[in-house]
Subunit: 279 residues, 2 copies
Amino acid sequence: MDRPRQIDRPVDRPLTLVHPRAHTWSPKTARARFRSGVSGPTAGVAAGHTQVNMIAVPADWAYDMLLFCQRNPKPCPVLDVTDAGSYATVLAPGADLRTDLPRYRIWQDGELVAEPTDVVGHWRDDLVTFLIGCSFTFEWALSAAGVPIRHVEQGRNVPMYVTARECRPAGRLRGPLVVSMRPVPPERLSAAIRESSLLPAVHGGPVHCGDPSVLGIEDLARPDFGEPVAAEPDDIPVFWACGVTPQAAVMASCPPFALTHAPGQMFLTDARDEQYRVA
Amino acid sequence: MDRPRQIDRPVDRPLTLVHPRAHTWSPKTARARFRSGVSGPTAGVAAGHTQVNMIAVPADWAYDMLLFCQRNPKPCPVLDVTDAGSYATVLAPGADLRTDLPRYRIWQDGELVAEPTDVVGHWRDDLVTFLIGCSFTFEWALSAAGVPIRHVEQGRNVPMYVTARECRPAGRLRGPLVVSMRPVPPERLSAAIRESSLLPAVHGGPVHCGDPSVLGIEDLARPDFGEPVAAEPDDIPVFWACGVTPQAAVMASCPPFALTHAPGQMFLTDARDEQYRVA
């Protein structure tokens, strides 16, 4: 798959840098800020509340998308699906999915054509919206277990990579697995695996630890989405399945139209991370 | 919802009684026996291998069913969905979903019309088959943790109850939550909750422990599916979401046609229970 076409790319700084107290925002406050035009990566925002990836496709493609998610549950754990045309979700009563994310991406025939901060003018009555678990959710659990979250410390968006692993196709949808990467000190690897594994609804345990070439990733310094992160010499790169995978499927499979979040700029729900913990 | 109409009901004894060494069968051996006409509840069969509920609906209903499952993941954890018309599954290469279950149910307009041991003559090219996790899967983990599995000990099918709790509807599908019940000694309750919680793909932790009336269940001695089980005086009834829930949705929502397994008579996959354990 080609790398994403570089359009007139907005430079968004992480919201936790721009607003140093963003981690204390309620999800409702965060959504109101985004509705008013604030944008930026949401890692570290609204502590303890579940963040989700968004992808909206025409109803005609909804079964293929839902089946793609079912067949690829590690990258695509579906937390809610709207009825066609609805921009409301049970995960955040009162929220508007057309305005309440920091930044969106608009796709036509698999091409990225715009990255606006709302999609009111692009909305269609036949759109079915999928909200998919995000690994930002388990960063709080990792942090509480002593795992440093280096991309947050460094004020960067998490690095994401298109891998050489193909997802299981569904109908007209196919595409590669996308992963996020966090460098983890060896003595914290066990905690990182344990804590994320207990949250399967937000990607669960890592898909790989160590040598990036096993996943077909050539250069950690050149992520396909997000930004590179600096690692300490002993750090082990740990790769988790990523909710940008459906965007990669859109790029590979070219549905006529799709709306997504911008990578790293998630929807903040009212759900608590604890709700998704299995034990 | 009305109770299931009592049709000319076959009396199937649990396979672990009829074939005392059924727990040592491989899934392939079990499927071959069922293909040859053997039937009966499958609790305790093919130790350590994942058992699944089956429901097949016309393609026109497949999106509603998949969305119903996504919106009700506790009772309906989907482990595989076939392409329309296919009777093969990745969970058991070489198996035939039309013949390899012990007993089936055929539904027309929400009415149970037959319970044959194969559905070759009823198959349609537009059927999409859903394979849904089954709590028999975690019985091995419960047993290993010292939890007695009383319905297996007593040679009965597990008792299942239609509750007063409505599932979240999806399109044309609605219906009540169905639960299975196992009486658990108080000193084993913690182990039963912990072990099942670690297997979210097969219903995970219980939805309720204790007073059945909380779920709208009037009489534990009169299950809606399966058979009553005798409890010890101190036992606590523990209720897990059950994969018969989609059958209850068929009964309540009346799609023109559906095929399912007979309650308690599951499809034996080649998957190992361990694959679904989160940590």
